[in-house]
């Protein structure tokens, strides 16, 4: 089975980045724990989902429930005010509606909160891809001074150990004498996040054959999206990858105007790397620091071509996830469409695929109409308060 899974990964050209051979199924996971039963929204293939579950973090009902509790728990932050859900709020399609996120004491970062819906399918996490997995990702905001601001991972563990409820639940889920570890904490959170999928949008019903699911304007927009407007090349959509992203990094010029000082910033990053001081934690701080943040993917690769390049965001639920771009600098979808129409922001490293589009008013309206058909039933119901998933509410 393991061989088959790895084979399929190679075949699909996707990878969760784990290495074969690191497989260890604890006895409790293989036998006792109840496997999580996932229900898949229309348009999201179950086999892809299964492929993307790490071998060392199998999905169980108890673990998902624990992860959900942690996700909504503000006690994971230094002053008990910030949880994962603060910036990734289910009522806003798991974003925060702010240009850039605010952590403890209202401290501001430099990046717009991306949704966690379908985030499990990402090749890498964060706008610059500095984390390979959801587990890696979850470790970082906990100790970033402008986010949850815990002094260390050890402090997070120590704090949770003071809460009897968690001691009990971690033991149930992970077993062993010392079940509360930073790795187990993020494994539980990631397991919960892997249950949060976006699909079953009007567009999915249209693709499935329901011609009436979307308007004539949206259909024209879909044709533009595939053709003249050149969207689909980066916001990839096909049944093998229905996520509206190519999982790659592109410089479209956002933020290149705001920061003048790339020379100094890049030099400092390079010096840190030279001295071996560009640790994951340091990288995480830089990525949320003004100025440095705009270096984008360069922070991770330190290749000139990656300066100002950011991950193509998925477009599902995009009508609910504004403001837009890595720095939240655009309020409306219309603003985003106009930005692309003029060929992005000219800058030293503009992606060669970003060119003027010459879209008419009508065409821009049609594109927006199309984007609005990507809202999932789930995110819409959460946004309208028709359902709620926060515990205790």
């Amino acid at each position: 089975m393991v061989m088959l899974v790895m084979g399929l990964i190679a075949l699909l050209g996707t990878s969760s980045g784990r290495s074969p051979g690191s497989l260890s199924w604890p006895a409790w996971a293989a036998g006792q724990a109840k496997e999580f039963q996932m229900t898949f929204p229309l348009g999201i293939p179950a086999d892809l989902w299964e492929l993307m579950i790490p071998e060392d973090n199998p999905m169980t009902e108890a673990k998902v429930a624990l992860g959900k509790a942690l996700y909504f728990d503000t006690r994971l932050s230094a002053d008990n005010t910030v949880s994962c859900a603060t910036c990734h709020d289910p009522r806003r399609a798991f974003t925060d509606g702010k240009p850039v996120s605010e952590g403890v004491g209202g401290k501001k970062g430099a990046r717009n909160a991306p949704t966690i819906l379908n985030a499990m399918f990402n090749e890498e996490q964060f706008w610059d891809g500095r984390a390979k997995t959801l587990e890696d990702q979850a470790k970082q905001p906990l100790v970033n001074p402008v986010e949850m601001a815990m002094p260390s991972h050890e402090a997070v563990v120590a704090k949770l150990k003071q809460i009897p409820e968690y001691v009990k639940r971690f033991r149930e889920v992970f077993g062993g004498t010392d079940p509360i570890t930073i790795d187990h904490i993020v494994q539980a959170i990631a397991a919960f996040e892997r249950t949060q999928l976006s699909g079953d949008a009007p567009f999915d019903r249209f693709i499935a054959g329901d011609e009436k699911a979307i308007s004539a304007a949206a259909k024209r927009g879909w044709e533009l999206f595939k053709g003249k407007a050149r969207c689909i090349t980066c916001h990839e959509f096909n049944p093998s990858s229905p996520f509206f992203t190519d999982f790659k990094y592109h410089n479209i010029g956002v933020g290149m105007k705001a920061t003048k000082n790339f020379e100094t910033l890049a030099r400092r990053v390079q010096q840190l790397a030279e001295r071996g001081e560009l640790t994951a934690a340091e990288l995480d701080k830089l990525s949320l620091a003004e100025g440095f943040s705009e270096l984008g993917r360069f922070l991770v690769t330190r290749q000139p071509k990656d300066v100002g390049a950011f991950k193509t965001p998925p477009l599902r639920d995009v009508a609910l996830t504004g403001p837009y771009m890595h720095d939240g600098s655009m309020k409306t979808l219309r603003e985003v469409i106009e930005f692309y129409n003029k060929g992005g922001e000219p800058n030293p490293n503009l992606d060669g695929g970003i060119i003027e589009l010459h879209l008419t008013e009508q065409e821009m309206n049609d594109l927006e109409a199309f984007l609005r058909t990507l809202t999932s039933t789930y995110a819409r119901a959460l946004a309208r308060g028709e359902i709620t998933i926060a515990p205790g509410k």
């Binding site: 003048k260 790339f262 030099r267 390079q270 071996g276 000139p304 071509k305 030293p348 490293n349 060669g352």
Partner: protein, 374 residues
């Protein structure tokens, strides 16, 4: 004389670009060894991406005792139309100028590798001269067939001087050799100058003749070398490769053997050529050959005749107009042999090191393409 309005529009961000790239490039070189180690660790952890061996090249280079004597930069094959017809190629040429101006320290000079214009028209050549005049370092001009065959080099020579010349720099004898002469195919066909130009401009047009240095050019070369000691390192700039790669596309110099014979007696000879718009490497006896990137577009590799030492660059993605294009620098060593840097605009840079050619491809191999041509 030439209005600078078009420049103002883009001046602001281009200044930022200049500042920035100066820093990044400087840092890259100095920081390489340690960074390469870290990057290797990162790529090993990723199962999808092969470790990028570009770092390995630089590790090998850094382990040599010898330091480069100096550096020059190159820009080549800009193929300019008038700006009102085609802005893309103009912007690409300007990007190359900004790249080179951002080098710190500045290169000793900049080689322009020919095909400044697309159809040899005065407006195109003058636009090219205007763009290149922004370069801070001195420019060494070379002519290409696209510059020549409308008026048989009249305008180009008026702007840039004779197409054959030589100079000495820090102990190296540099020769700029006009290698794109063709035998008269136009008179008998009663062609207009523009018909002649367009025939030559068509890479796959079989009506035209083949490129040659020609008897006069070879005689000029012999005379130029008459007083140069065989121990003096020689670097030749030619537009066409001074060897025979693929005849149908004039990736070719018809009298290449005769030219090579003139160069064989010298201890070290390096030929840097344009025209082929691709990463291209060859060695014949004592002569090392390096191609240059175009700023305008990449050519595919020819169906046959590719030199064995060439490690191909990946096929370009046409969605990205900058992919497969770029500019570069050349580090010249005391021996006269060089490290050739290809600054690919949409990819990681690639170095074809001196050690690679000196070892006949055994050491310092550049990274292999994921998608070679077929």
């Amino acid at each position: 004389m030439w209005p600078l309005k078009w420049k103002q529009r883009e001046q602001q961000y281009r200044q930022e670009r200049a500042d920035f790239f100066a820093a990044v490039k400087r840092l890259d070189r100095r920081a390489f060894l340690k960074v390469a180690g870290m990057a290797a660790a990162v790529t090993t952890a990723k199962t999808v991406l092969p470790p990028h061996s570009f770092q390995l090249v630089d590790v090998v280079r850094a382990s040599e005792d010898e330091k480069p004597l100096f550096q020059f930069a190159y820009i080549s094959d800009t193929h300019l139309y008038e700006r009102r017809l085609n802005e893309r190629f103009v912007k690409a040429a300007m990007r190359a100028v900004e790249d080179v101006n951002a080098l710190d320290p500045q290169p000793d000079f900049v080689l322009f590798g020919g095909d400044l214009a697309q159809l040899g028209q005065p407006q195109e050549l003058e636009l090219g001269k205007q763009i290149l005049s922004e370069l801070k370092a001195p420019v060494k001009m070379m002519v290409g067939e696209h510059d020549w065959f409308l008026d048989m080099g009249e305008k180009w020579q008026e702007l840039f001087g004779p197409p054959n010349y030589s100079f000495d720099h820090k102990g190296i004898h540099f020769i700029v050799l006009m290698s794109v002469n063709e035998k008269d195919f136009w008179t008998a066909r009663n062609m207009t100058p523009m018909e002649r130009m367009k025939t030559v401009a068509g890479l796959d047009n079989p009506i035209q003749s083949r490129f040659e240095v020609g008897p006069e050019g070879r005689e000029w070369l012999r005379r130029d070398l008459a007083n140069v000691s065989p121990e003096t390192p020689i670097i030749v700039f030619s537009h066409s490769p001074l060897y025979k790669y693929y005849r149908p596309w004039n990736f070719w110099t018809e009298d290449a053997e005769a030219v090579q014979e003139i160069l064989f007696p010298y201890r070290s000879v390096t030929v840097i050529h344009g025209h082929t718009h691709q990463l291209l490497t060859n060695r014949i006896r004592n002569i090392h050959f390096h191609g240059m990137l175009s700023t305008a577009w990449p050519w595919p590799y020819a169906p046959e005749g590719l030199p064995k030492l060439t490690v191909q660059m990946d096929r370009a993605d046409p969605f990205d107009e900058a992919d497969g294009t770029g500019d570069g620098t050349v580090d010249v060593y005391g021996s006269g042999y060089v490290d050739k840097h290809y600054n690919l605009w949409s990819r990681n840079p690639i170095t074809v090191a001196k050690a690679y050619l000196e070892s006949w491809g055994k050491e310092a191999r550049p990274p292999a393409p994921q998608f070679p041509s077929y």
